[in-house]
Symmetry: C2
Subunit: 616 residues, 2 copies
């Protein structure tokens, strides 16, 4: 394509963006118009991709970090022949693949869902890590960012990771159109401000004074391609709403279709039907290694004292030996989460994010998009830092294993800043998630292996301290199941617990039995999905149910249990024990007692419920 | 104090840190030892503070961003005469004020809870903003950071805000001791790497090649004090575990008491009892303006169509007129959240965080610590970005008003990335929080005013689209209450809803009545705390209960309702409607229908429950 044709193509992308938004009656055409030349030159000249084989291992990867510029993306798809003009005009309609913000669940050419700003570049870094360290099929990763989103700290976590890892297969393209949603950005058109920041983080910087000059843009891409040893950022000065006098560089038009689309289309030179011949990638082999061997999970002796975090680390290392597709990530706490066991055995498949939990999850999303099976771990409390990334990973349909250690008040002296007390609520509320909370080492090992092959977001909650091993190493723990550990025909109450409180519940059941009160005990290791049948049966047979969790009372195990009783049938009596106060520093035993979730508190609550039908 | 005395004082802080951790049997002495000179020189020579009047408006503010170095902090308190040696040795004991990580809930000299890394500097920026733009009593903010935590993106959000706002009242001190928790940091002792980054963000940088040289440290503080127009960062090269051969610059000793504390204390020159005479601040007036006038909330007509986000913006602007202590913050979406109404009327009390939700909340925490009443708003979906900051704000006991707009699938075409579907779960699980979800404009206005004076984290969920005004402008909405909107002696079911689904529930009740099924309708505007009595009474009188929410089924309104039935008494029949599928783009009406939470779906579920006692 000649430079003139490229300019014409850019105009076509503008026109089609305007048309799509006009048809939808909503959307972000002005944010698309600023980046038209950036997209035209990239896709016509430099991007290597087989639209018929989106899983081609040699394909370059494009991420639209400014996800609201989806009309531009879809206009490119049309120009590349991937979608028809008719489909383009279904933009934002019910059932259309062309959503307001693109998602890979609907479109095979989308690498990751965007729309929450500041996430595309981090995930692009994850894909580039995959390309550089694991896949090695020579693909490049191109990420189109907005300038507004550079305010997100996650962008700088990504910049740090990419600079440190010398990701010269990564190019970030920043559409510096000066205008955010509600007015000017902090730095307006000051390209140097951004240049200083990226350079400081170890990036090669190319400034393009006119991002609508196709030749200048082309040269910038060439410079990115020829830069070795560091990632490149192209900072392109552009105008929002470019090409139409009524919108060009104007405030107050973010996220709005053009007022007079027909007039704008005419001003842009009318409808065109230019086609992009996107370069095909070279043939490449899928880099996924075959299964390496038989899985030999760690085995713990019944009665042994072992921490579930230790079992996690050992099981993950074993899984890594058996499966070449398993990778691990951590946030500079691998000695605490025990991810370091994997790191020591499989350093080539271990990714250190340092203390940057958003980037850790973004790396995992990027690796998952390339077919790897990631396990990302940190303290349960600090997974809250990456909540928005986890939420968006669910929108992507990404398969991630997240592991949160140091759950609950049971960690002891370190105090509330380190205690995961909201993690179950957070992970349960993620669409399509699985939430697992083991109480012993053998159970943990089995669940670590099981979760690898589930869909969506899988969460495993581990504990800091040691607990007695209560299951044999060959016991199975299906997701969605529960274990009834104590049961008799004369049970007068059911205690439901998981993790550390399961051991307290067992001790409470012993104490109650000594007083003549038989208690059923259920290990609810699968917090989501929950075993409705077992819970319903136990509640009906024993008449009442007491849940106990080392978590705040909202959204955790207690709520998971209640979920079993929303089927329209009458519900037996329920009481819930959970952490209701703000803990301070204290020993693990003191913490459980102070929170009212130790064996003594459980037994006391059980007595009240059985004998007086009231909650403590 | 002479330089020699300062060095002695630093050794004392080391000794006391070692002693405190030894007494506790846990804690982070080596992280304290690296920063001993940094602390000694600051508190003996430059910090201005009245320990007897922690609320003195002229006090400098110190934030320990590396919160795990609490032994150092407590050793300073002892040297300053604020605590006794006996109390120092209660470190990390049950009931002690000296927690593993410091919190203002226990100690009056702590500005904000730390322990989740990368949060102290952001909150320090918020305090400095307060000092610079509102308080103007001349205090300075000093933040002691670790080097590991500079990997957190939140640090760079803070750096961006501080640089942009020319916060020359702020000094960040980075204890570059090279070692993180599990090994070396990305940049080790490369001070220049950090210098480049801070400089790029507009900071004045002072590098101290030997952070144990009290004279060099003293000069660095002097340079910070004399720097105008920009914040200063002091990058000090230090050694972790400094002063004890067995720990100095050694890996693997993070978060561990010294093996032989007695020997280490001897090596450090033994126990001392030097005292710091901390400079008192000049007298200053509390800057909080008196109440400015009578609150005139916006009033909406019954039957009028109005969006709750509009009512929020108008009410907040009115509240700002009536109360001089109210401030507002937004994340570059003020035109959508309607925080711009406040910004236009009270620009001097409006804080723009651009697209940096963590910093937005950190600014709010900082402002709240100085006595201001902050309202921080963004899309409900994007509040998940700041989850860890909200969690830590609760540990601080900070009083924050958070407002999440664009809740639920009802936003329509923009799709799932923009839909808050986890926000109720997230905010309910925060310790001590209040969660409010109004369905009409007058209710919103009243709740905006009410929430100002509550304790802890207050959350208001607003909606994008317009709904009919169903309450008069003088109706009251107590927190913890609910409104019974339809009720008769022959009700056979109770519909519980809030926000947009409340209107759907009313329409469903109309349809059901036409079929001879009377339904009670409850507006659960107070999601937390929940009105247990009204819910219990309704369930018992009508026999069954159907909850409907524009939120995922976990952790939201349905779970809040179930909370009312965990008192040990039998529970009537329950069914819950919520968003269970991944939405795409569609109109608001199509979205509600597709999610099964529109009037038709509610009526259908109600029929099933009433007539067949089953869930859909």
């Amino acid at each position: 394509m000649s430079d003139h044709q490229l300019s014409e193509l850019a105009q076509q992308l503008r026109v089609d963006s305007v048309r799509a938004a006009a048809a939808a009656g909503s959307g972000h055409p002005t944010s698309s118009m600023s980046a038209a030349e950036l997209a035209a030159v990239l896709f016509a000249r430099h991007f290597r991709y087989d639209f018929e084989r989106p899983d081609h291992p040699g394909n370059d990867r494009f991420v639209l970090s400014k996800g609201h510029a989806s009309p531009l993306m879809y206009s490119v798809y049309k120009a590349a022949g991937a979608i028809t003009d008719e489909e383009l005009l279904t933009f934002r309609e019910l059932g259309s693949r062309l959503e307001g913000h693109p998602t890979p669940q609907r479109l095979p050419w989308v690498e990751t869902a965007t729309g929450s700003l500041g996430q595309g570049l981090p995930v692009g870094v994850g894909i580039a890590l995959s390309g550089k360290r694991l896949d090695r099929t020579g693909y490049r990763v191109w990420v189109l960012c907005g300038d507004s989103e550079l305010a997100e700290g996650s962008i700088w976590e990504a910049a740090e990771q990419a600079g440190f890892e010398d990701l010269d297969n990564l190019t970030a393209i920043v559409d510096v159109n000066r205008l955010g949603q509600r007015g000017e950005t902090r730095h307006g058109h000051d390209l140097d401000a951004y240049a200083r920041r990226f350079r400081a983080f170890g990036w090669h910087v190319v400034e393009v004074g006119d991002g609508h000059d196709v030749d200048a843009v082309d040269r910038a891409y060439g410079e990115a391609l020829s830069t070795a040893g560091q990632p490149t950022v192209i900072l392109a000065r552009t105008l929002k709403g470019k090409g139409v006098a009524a919108t060009e560089d104007k405030e107050g038009l973010h996220g709005k279709p053009l007022k007079d689309a027909d007039e704008a289309i005419e001003e842009l030179g009318g409808i065109r039907d230019l086609r992009i011949e996107v370069h095909r990638p070279d043939e490449a082999q899928e880099p996924r290694p075959a299964s390496a061997g038989h899985l030999q999970l760690p085995r713990f002796e019944l009665g042994e004292e072992a921490a579930t975090r230790d079992a996690f680390g050992q099981a993950l290392a074993a899984l890594g030996s058996a499966r070449g597709d398993v990778v691990a990530l951590d946030g500079e706490v691998g000695d605490s989460t025990r991810a370091e066991y994997f790191a020591k055995e499989h350093p080539e498949r271990f990714f250190e994010a340092y203390i940057a939990e958003q980037q850790m999850v973004a790396n995992a999303v990027g690796l998952a998009s390339r077919g790897w099976v990631p396990y990302a771990s940190t303290f349960a409390a600090f997974l809250t830092r990456a909540h928005d990334f986890v939420r968006m990973a669910a929108v992507s349909g990404a398969g991630l294993n997240l592991v949160g250690s140091h759950a609950g008040v049971a960690i002891g002296q370190d105090g509330p800043s380190q205690m995961g007390l909201e993690d179950l609520a957070m992970l349960r509320s993620v669409h399509g998630s699985t939430v697992l909370y083991p109480c012993d080492a053998n159970q943990t090992a089995k669940l670590v292996a099981t979760m690898a092959d589930l869909d969506g977001i899988r969460y495993l909650r581990t504990s800091r301290g040691k607990n007695k091993v209560i299951y044999g190493p060959d016991e199975e723990f299906p997701v969605g199941g529960a274990k009834v550990l104590r049961s008799s025909d004369s049970d007068r109450i059911t205690l439901v617990a998981a993790g550390v409180t399961l051991h307290e519940a067992l001790a409470a059941a012993d104490a109650l039995e000594g007083e003549g009160i038989r208690a059923r005990v259920i290990d609810l290791y699968s917090v989501k999905p929950v075993d409705r049948d077992t819970l319903r049966e136990a509640a009906e047979q024993t008449g009442c149910l007491l849940t106990v969790e080392d978590h705040h009372e909202e959204g955790g195990l207690g709520d998971a249990v209640l979920d079993a009783f929303t089927d329209g049938r009458p519900v037996p009596r329920l009481v819930r024990l959970a952490v209701r106060t703000m803990p301070g520093s204290a020993s693990p035993e003191e913490q459980l007692h102070a929170a009212g979730i130790d064996a003594g508190s459980i037994a006391a609550a059980a007595r009240l419920l059985v004998e007086h039908a009231v909650a403590p």
